[in-house]
């Protein structure tokens, strides 16, 4: 299904808004362009504010009398330098990358097999299993973190990266499986039948036919899972204690915020740099993102 909507929308592209010529320009300015401008301004302003604060010297930061807060007179890299050289920030970045990549790969492998089994092997109880996977997707981390903390502690994983690598799949596997099920469904069954007749076994069908055809689906699931792991907070906050094992969101919030003085410049620089990897990834794969987001909801 996830490839189908985009195919439909592309088909309609030349046709959509076919009656807009009936509307006069001034009317369109009020009904379309003005609201759109307000939406874009509100949605993007926090990012601008984050970026401009990150490069403001401290004396301009809180002096709204002599400097316009919307601009910076003498941009500085002091905050970024402080962040990179005098805090554990580079280590947090490395941790986040490591944990996100490992959790994503683990989840993708488990999900490919599960989705193929549910969607194509159609073993007994496949429908029920599919429904169970969907229900698992609806279980929020907020009700799991306390029992998981007890488990993580009893397993001796407390304050290790493995605690996060093993628990992130709880929300990644249901999501990826659900997405890939929809993707596998769009591959014609006849291709597999041909291969079966030619003597291929299930493993060969999966690796030589289904997987090569579902590379876009795998990319969608992969980058989405990576982003979800990158953004995860409550498990990382609960299971990690020492500074050197923290991820970026937890590190920025718990280590850069000191009780008395807020280092707003460094905080904003930390938020900005921590957001960049996912934003860059997103900018390369916008279509995959949109299709995985809408695909997950549509089925």
């Amino acid at each position: 299904m996830s490839s189908l909507p985009s195919a439909i929308t592309q088909g309609l592209d030349g046709d959509e808004g076919g009656m807009t010529y009936l509307q006069r320009l001034p009317r369109r300015v009020v009904t379309v362009y003005l609201p759109l401008a307000v939406f874009v301004f509100v949605l993007l302003f926090p990012f601008y504010w984050m970026a401009i604060t990150a490069i403001k010297p401290n004396d301009e930061l809180t002096d709204y009398q002599n400097f316009s807060p919307f601009w910076v007179v003498r941009p500085t890299f002091d905050h970024i330098r402080y962040l990179m050289l005098e805090t554990s920030y580079p280590g947090w970045l490395l941790n986040t990358i490591l944990i996100s990549v490992a959790a994503t790969i683990l989840s993708l492998i488990a999900s490919v097999f599960a989705a193929y089994a549910i969607e194509r092997l159609r073993f007994q109880g496949a429908r029920v299993t599919g429904l169970a996977i969907f229900l698992a997707y609806l279980v929020p981390p907020s009700i799991l973190f306390i029992p998981l903390a007890v488990m993580v502690f009893n397993l001796g994983l407390y304050d290790t990266r493995f605690a996060l690598i093993l628990t992130y799949p709880t929300f990644l596997v249901p999501f990826c499986t659900w997405l890939l099920m929809g993707y596998f469904r769009s591959i014609p069954y006849e291709l597999e039948e041909c291969a079966l007749i030619d003597g291929a076994n299930r493993w060969q069908i999966l690796t030589k036919i289904v997987l090569p055809l579902s590379i876009p689906g795998l990319i969608s699931a992969g980058i989405f899972a990576f982003t979800l792991s990158w953004n995860e907070f409550i498990y990382a906050l609960t299971f990690i204690q020492s500074s050197e094992n923290k991820t970026v969101p937890v590190g920025v919030l718990t280590e850069l915020v000191r009780s008395d003085v807020y280092e707003w410049g460094a905080l904003m620089a930390g938020a900005l740099i921590g957001s960049l990897p996912v934003v860059i990834l997103y900018s390369f794969f916008v279509e995959h993102y949109v299709s995985s987001m809408t695909g997950a909801v549509k089925e």
Binding site: G18, I133, L148
Partner: protein, 314 residues
């Protein structure tokens, strides 16, 4: 693809393996194994363990004993817990209504013929892509009591005289966290509804226009009915994620001032992890389940309706 049709594929497995390959049940079981182990171990089991912990007095560093409904009895008489329930319902309902209204509006705008449409669609999704905690930190700075940019701008226009105490006053704090949540939630609603809008054939609008339908009638009698199934699903997800929200509150207010913004999830964390009362924290988390079940049932009936609308086929 060529090597599939060629006879190059060998088939020299042992007979045991071959019978495995031909048995759907056995192979299905094998393929399900990795996902099943991960989910049973780290999702199903903790879910059960959480319910069990709710009936014990377990603390950090000390295993607990069964104490029946004592945790729930304590919470029943706890004003802070009921305040958190009220806050969660208020937060969820207000934020969801705003997200739905604004998201649908944005989706309708983006569905118009626009220059740089793909660019706008990509940009609009940004708040949703960026880690919530990091954008919440930006909002923390925007909502600063002294140096808030909003206060500064309003003072310059002349609407207010003193800076707004965004996060220090109970009412303001509630409005502020809801605003930040709505900011982050609009893109998800807008982009998914836009995908739904794009599947509606323009010829339906043309036909309605020829029949003399006004823009409002076209929306009410063409767009809205066709969009209902996807609205039901999107809003279920939105309600679910808003109801169990933790990160935004934890960054912006930690539940303050005077517990005015404590949600059930943040209260559960405060009592369970920070306070060390794992049993009580688990009981608060379990108390969220009935609400979540209601949301899931709502989603189920949303799906049912879709099947019915499509004439029983899906």
């Amino acid at each position: 693809m060529t090597d599939v049709t060629s006879p190059a594929l060998r088939h020299d497995d042992s007979s045991l393996l071959r019978s495995l390959h031909n048995s759907r049940g056995a192979l299905g079981f094998l393929f399900m194994l990795p996902a099943a182990i991960l989910l049973l171990l780290f999702l199903t089991y903790p879910l059960g363990l959480g319910v069990w912990l709710g009936f014990t007095d377990e603390r950090i560093g000390r295993s607990g004993v069964f104490i029946g409904l004592e945790n729930y009895a304590y919470l029943w008489d706890d004003n802070v817990f009921w305040l958190a329930v009220f806050n969660t319902l208020l937060y969820t309902s207000v934020a969801s209504v705003l997200k739905f209204g604004l998201g649908l509006w944005l989706a309708l705008i983006l569905n118009e013929r626009l220059p740089f449409k793909a660019f706008f669609r990509a940009i609009v999704l940004l708040p949703w892509v960026v880690p919530t905690v990091l954008s919440a930190i930006a909002f923390w700075w925007i909502f600063d009591a002294q140096f808030s940019i909003i206060s500064w701008a309003l003072e310059r226009i002349g609407l207010i005289d003193t800076p707004i105490n965004f996060l220090g006053d109970p009412t303001n704090a509630r409005a502020s966290v809801i605003a930040a949540n709505v900011w982050r939630g609009i893109p998800f609603v807008a982009i998914t509804l836009l995908a739904g809008l794009q599947t509606i054939s323009p010829s339906l609008y043309e036909a309605a226009t020829l029949d003399g339908a006004t823009p409002w009638q076209r929306f009410r009698f063409v767009t809205f009915p066709l969009l209902t199934p996807i609205i039901a699903i999107v809003m279920t997800f939105s309600v679910l994620f808003t109801f169990t929200d933790f990160q935004l509150i934890y960054v912006l207010t930690r539940g303050g001032p005077v517990n005015a913004t404590h949600l059930m999830a943040t209260l559960s964390f405060q009592r369970g992890i920070s306070g060390g009362n794992l049993g009580e924290g688990a009981a608060i988390a379990v108390a969220m389940i009935p609400f979540l079940m209601a949301a899931i049932l709502f989603s189920y009936f949303g799906l049912q309706r879709r099947r019915w609308q499509q004439g029983g086929s899906d």
